[in-house]
Subunit: 275 residues, 2 copies
């Protein structure tokens, strides 16, 4: 059974980071309806065990599926790394993560086949980027390192200045010295640090923004599956749900989305659990 073309694209993340992906969806697919869910009561996923990440991801996916979406986007590197395959098995919908698009773009961009990846502890420990990249190019060498302080820096709004610069140098200079020519920003928060990351890595390292690449992939998939919004599609909407306080999401979220968030709903995932 094909989904309704006018149904929404469902996007979930552990918190606000996925808004960088939503931002790119807005830019590339301005007429699509969207429903965004941020699991702010349990953010961050990046420090949790695989079992817990999968449990939380299932609950988020089930919530969005119950809204009749036509496509599910896991706009969270940690959840994509750990739970994508199992969510694909469980939900009868096109499901996209953020790892594959970033991996593809990295393989296209590299010349010396030395690719760096940065992300949360859980994303890096999962090994999902090296696996995805090597599946596309068996000769590629991947150096992946966790940068746990980048997320709190972004959330605090310290995206430039001495603390951000020194933190970036401490994490990234050893990576730079490995001779990579391409770096995947493997966390949805990191596009906000692109300036300082770019300065630290220098002009010879291509930065891959997985949010941008994921939006491109979503567009492609909508076309292939004939799921694009029809021209006469009515009642355009962009809905937001969080599992905890609206205030913080609104205040910090606008920096990520690049526009105002007018209205935020509260989602109670415990009622939607798919057991």
């Amino acid at each position: 059974l094909k989904a309704n073309n006018n149904a929404a694209i469902g996007v979930f993340d552990s918190g606000i980071g996925g808004l960088t992906v939503l931002r790119e969806i807005f830019a590339l697919l301005p007429f699509e309806n969207t429903i965004y869910l941020g699991d702010t009561a349990r953010v961050p996923y990046g420090i949790r065990s695989p079992e817990t990440v999968t449990k939380y991801s299932f609950e988020s996916a089930a919530f969005l599926a119950s809204k009749g979406i036509k496509m599910l986007v896991i706009a969270c590197n940690t959840a994509s790394s750990i739970s994508l395959e199992r969510i694909k098995e469980r939900f009868p919908l096109p499901v996209l993560g953020v790892i594959e698009p970033g991996a593809k773009a990295a393989v296209r961009a590299t010349k010396n086949k030395r690719i760096g990846v940065i992300g949360t502890d859980a994303t890096i420990r999962s090994g999902s980027y090296p696996k995805a990249i090597r599946a596309l190019d068996g000769e590629a060498e991947v150096i992946a390192i966790p940068c746990p302080l980048f997320v709190p820096l972004v959330e605090e709004g310290w995206i430039e200045g001495d603390v951000a610069r020194l933190t970036a140098e401490k994490y990234l200079l050893p990576l730079k010295h490995t001779g990579i020519d391409t770096l995947v920003l493997g966390c949805t928060h990191y596009p906000l640090l692109k300036g300082i990351i770019g300065k630290t890595m220098g002009p010879d390292v291509a930065l891959i923004d997985s949010a941008e690449e994921t939006a491109k992939e979503i567009k492609e998939k909508l076309i292939i599956e004939d799921l694009r919004m029809t021209e006469g599609g009515k009642g355009h909407y962009r809905e937001f749900f969080v599992t905890d306080s609206r205030d913080r999401f609104m205040a910090v979220g606008e920096r990520f989305l690049g526009e105002r968030i007018e209205h935020i709903n509260i989602a109670d995932l415990s009622e939607e659990v798919a057991r």
Copy 2:
């Protein structure tokens, strides 16, 4: 009904931070049995709404109460700030938080009645320290500021070096210039940053470690309520429970506790919810 003197002291925190309180309990009350619960599946509480913090705190308290403890210690500034009174109402046990002991020590220490407090967003927003301090001394002036990056810095192990120093200066120099003579470390992670905080504030500002003060208060309360371990008390134990992965808790927790954690159990709070 008086509790069994040989029952354990139950201690809970959103994660590993409360281990600094447990460490002081071990030092001051080495013969007491203890059960520690870290809600690592949902850490950190400091960025969540009051409703969510209370819900999670009730679940943690109910879990420990079900173990037959003789006293409950909320070793988390955020949960103490927001949920202490309601937990006291709900659970028929002596219950202690970490705010009151820190506030008392600050009032004792200050000479110019200008007291600074640092903590997480949620602790500072709750206003619990200014309220507790002014209840003890109506003339005290309290300047409270959130330092959200301190927790991730400690968890990353960056407790000295340039990043820690610059972060401390950015948060604390404006506070120093207000002329406070006493600073309450209003977060259980902060004792690990005492070195850099002390250097930044200088020798004329007294640092109040709420973990130390809380242990003293626990000892006092055990004596008053005649709840100390009896001399013939047998089967000494120190139990640890977490709601998520043991590995991270073990690796990071030892830095907080100052000794090895031999065995960690997994607690499923969803089964213990007090509805």
